[in-house]
């Protein structure tokens, strides 16, 4: 199971990076999301995948009776999903606003902050 998940993580991250290399902002966004999901899956796999029972301690005991699933990676992923979603929403709105005011989805045409033909620096002094 671990090997299949590891291969899937690799596939997700490769796909994410491929899309991030695109010039289109929307494709980059989709790539970012797939990359983030690959990372979440990686944390899940790194926490060891088991078929054991849920990490709940029965009443009256201080420790679980037998082996249990690792609850920490799930907590980590939950945090990462929430954060990743908020970042994705912001970047989506930003991409739309940039499209509206710059009239560009292609990053090659976004040259306002960095003019393409930068002027020569002054030669005095």
């Amino acid at each position: 199971m671990d090997y299949i998940l590891a291969a899937l993580v690799g596939l997700f991250i490769a796909l994410g990076i491929y899309l991030l290399l695109s010039r289109s902002v929307i494709r980059m966004l989709i790539g970012m999301t797939i990359f983030g999901n690959g990372v979440n899956l990686l944390i899940f796999t790194a926490g060891r995948v088991t078929r054991e029972i849920a990490p709940i301690i029965p009443p009256g005991l201080d420790a679980p009776e037998g082996p249990i699933a690792n609850p920490l990676p799930q907590a980590l992923i939950l945090t990462a999903i929430v954060i990743g979603f908020s970042m994705f929403s912001f970047l989506l709105v930003l991409a739309f606003r940039a499209y509206q005011s710059l009239d560009a989805d292609n990053t090659d045409n976004m040259r306002l902050a960095e003019p393409e033909r930068a002027p020569q620096p002054p030669l005095s002094y």
């Binding site: 944390i43 945090t79 990462a80 976004m110 040259r111 306002l112 620096p121 005095s124």
Partner: protein, 530 residues
């Protein structure tokens, strides 16, 4: 079975004195929420934000004094003992950077008034600044790697909110590049966190220091390389620096100053913490890479500043050059090297912010962002020219200014490694040379800017006999901004003239980074490796 289990829960209440570790973050978050509610009022946001930041500064002074007196202070959240509970652990470096960050934020809050003449408060500027401060303070004070990731994201989302304020097209352009590359960097950090957790089974920094030597060194080196990639991107080290000069000059000057002081320094601090303190064995394997990154950053960044005509973009390249100096200490992690890196981060938080603040005032006076359109500002505002040249000298590291002392420590470390030490190699001598060349190039870039903006009679193309159009005098808000940056610069000059306490503090802080015994003991974990 229960009898053999070690203690896992905190049974007693945390001592009141330890609360100063978490108070700065709590105050900033509550303050941000409160200011959001009163954002439409005319005076309340500024007054409230200044009061909250003053409270944060007071807490951090108490914290820093406690850390200087007794070594690192730790507090663990949620009743679970480390490594299960999330620890906040402050050592000298973390506490002093957090203090410097809040001091800079205080001055920037006052300075930001120059751009807020017609603001109606809908943008919630002050609340987002406090949120950014909470993220940065949390990153400096945390003792848990996943918690560090969360603070990185808090900082990032707050900086998103600030960089688009005003919504000019150039800002949106800069924000797209800033947003994507920084989000990618934090996702890479999360990726290396996942791998690290898989290898070690813990994310508490003190616990990582204990168990890292037991793990497979090749796998750990891979994780360390990923961390270097992620934090190098956050810190804007060459060749991952492209987002900084693309974005930092687009928002209003106060926001640029806040970013320059706080954001890249968090990345540099995380590099120092992760590679030198947490994974020293993996850092040794990466040493040639670190040295190469330091040298290229040191040499190429000031060349970018010389070639630039946009004032704030040129200063952005000087900020990147400073990151190169921090990387020198990572490549040569002797006592002097680590102390030099730490002190340089402190210096950069203060000086780079002040430099952007002066640049904002220059743009306000001349009404232009292009150095070719400036000139003759000396006659109009001699005090401004004095501030600018003082900050240029400080950032280039000319004695006796603040930037000189960390560079002196780094030069000593480089010389000891490369020339005079027993294991003389190319790394030490090349780093020493790069530091010296960087100082000269930064000085050339800075003084050229000064000569073009202040010294020459008028803008490009005008003869010297042309009388410059009289420049607009500063209004009341402008004078407040000038006062803020003058006070900050005075502090920087004073710190440069009396560096002894800073040097002592940096040396003690470097000991705690190189030898984790006191740091681990503060969290309550057992000293020996399990």
């Amino acid at each position: 079975m229960e009898a053999t289990l070690p203690q896992a829960m905190i049974e007693t209440a945390t001592p009141l004195a330890d609360w100063v570790v978490v108070l700065p973050i709590v105050l900033a978050l509550i303050g941000a929420a409160g200011l959001l509610m009163v954002r439409r009022s005319t005076r309340m946001p500024l007054v409230g934000a200044v009061l909250v930041v003053l409270g944060i500064i007071a807490c951090e002074i108490v914290l820093l004094l406690a850390v200087l007196e007794n070594g690192p202070v730790s507090m663990t959240m949620g009743r679970w003992l480390p490594p299960f509970g999330i620890s906040l652990t402050a050592d000298i470096f973390g506490a002093s950077f957090a203090l410097a960050a809040s001091v800079v934020t205080l001055f920037i809050l006052l300075y930001a008034e120059i751009d807020r003449a017609g603001a109606d408060g809908r943008d919630a500027f002050h609340a987002i600044v406090l949120l950014l401060l909470a993220g940065v303070t949390g990153a400096f004070l945390t003792g848990d790697l996943f918690n560090l990731y969360v603070w990185f994201e808090v900082t990032l989302i707050a900086s998103f909110g600030l960089i688009v304020q005003g919504g000019r097209p150039a800002q949106l352009d800069g924000a797209v590049k800033y947003g994507f590359l920084n989000f990618l960097a934090t996702t890479l950090f999360l990726l290396s966190l996942g791998l690290l957790y898989g290898l070690l089974g813990t994310l508490n920094m003190a616990d990582i220091m204990r168990v890292a030597p037991l793990a497979n060194p090749a796998a750990m080196a891979g994780v360390a390389a990923l961390l270097l990639l992620a934090f190098g991107m956050k810190a804007a080290a060459f060749p991952l620096n492209a987002w900084l000069p693309a974005a930092y000059h687009t928002p209003p000057a106060a926001i640029s100053a806040l970013f320059a002081g706080l954001l890249t320094k968090v990345g540099a601090y995380a590099l120092l913490r992760a590679l030198v303190a947490l994974l020293p064995a993996s850092r040794d394997l990466l040493e040639p890479v670190l040295a190469l990154l330091a040298i290229t950053t040191l040499l190429l960044a000031p060349l970018g500043a010389i070639a630039e005509t946009n004032l704030r973009r040129a200063i952005g390249f000087i900020v990147i050059g400073g990151i190169g100096a921090v990387m020198v200490g990572l490549a040569v992690p002797t006592a002097d090297g680590i102390a030099g890196s730490g002190l340089y981060i402190l210096h950069a938080i203060l000086t780079m912010s002040a430099l952007y603040m002066v640049a904002g005032l220059v743009e306000k006076r001349t009404g232009s962002t292009d150095t070719r359109q400036m000139g003759g500002l000396y006659a109009a505002s001699a005090p401004l020219s004095v501030l600018f040249i003082l900050l240029v000298l400080a950032s280039a590291g000319v004695p006796p200014f603040l930037g000189f002392w960390p560079k002196l420590l780094l030069l000593e470390a480089g010389l000891a490694e490369g020339v005079t030490g027993p294991a003389a190699g190319w790394i030490g001598s090349a780093l020493t040379l790069a530091l010296l060349v960087n100082a000269v190039l930064t000085l050339i870039a800075g003084t050229r800017l000064w000569a073009h903006i202040f010294w020459r009679e008028g803008p490009e193309g005008e003869g010297s006999e042309h009388v410059r159009q009289p420049l607009a005098p500063l209004d009341r808000r402008g004078r407040l901004g000038f006062g803020a940056v003058a006070a900050l610069t005075a502090g920087i000059v004073m710190a440069g003239l009396w560096p002894a306490p800073l040097l002592d503090g940096a040396r003690t802080g470097a000991q705690d980074v190189a030898d984790p015994a006191r740091y681990v003991a503060a969290t309550g974990l057992a000293e020996d490796t399990p």
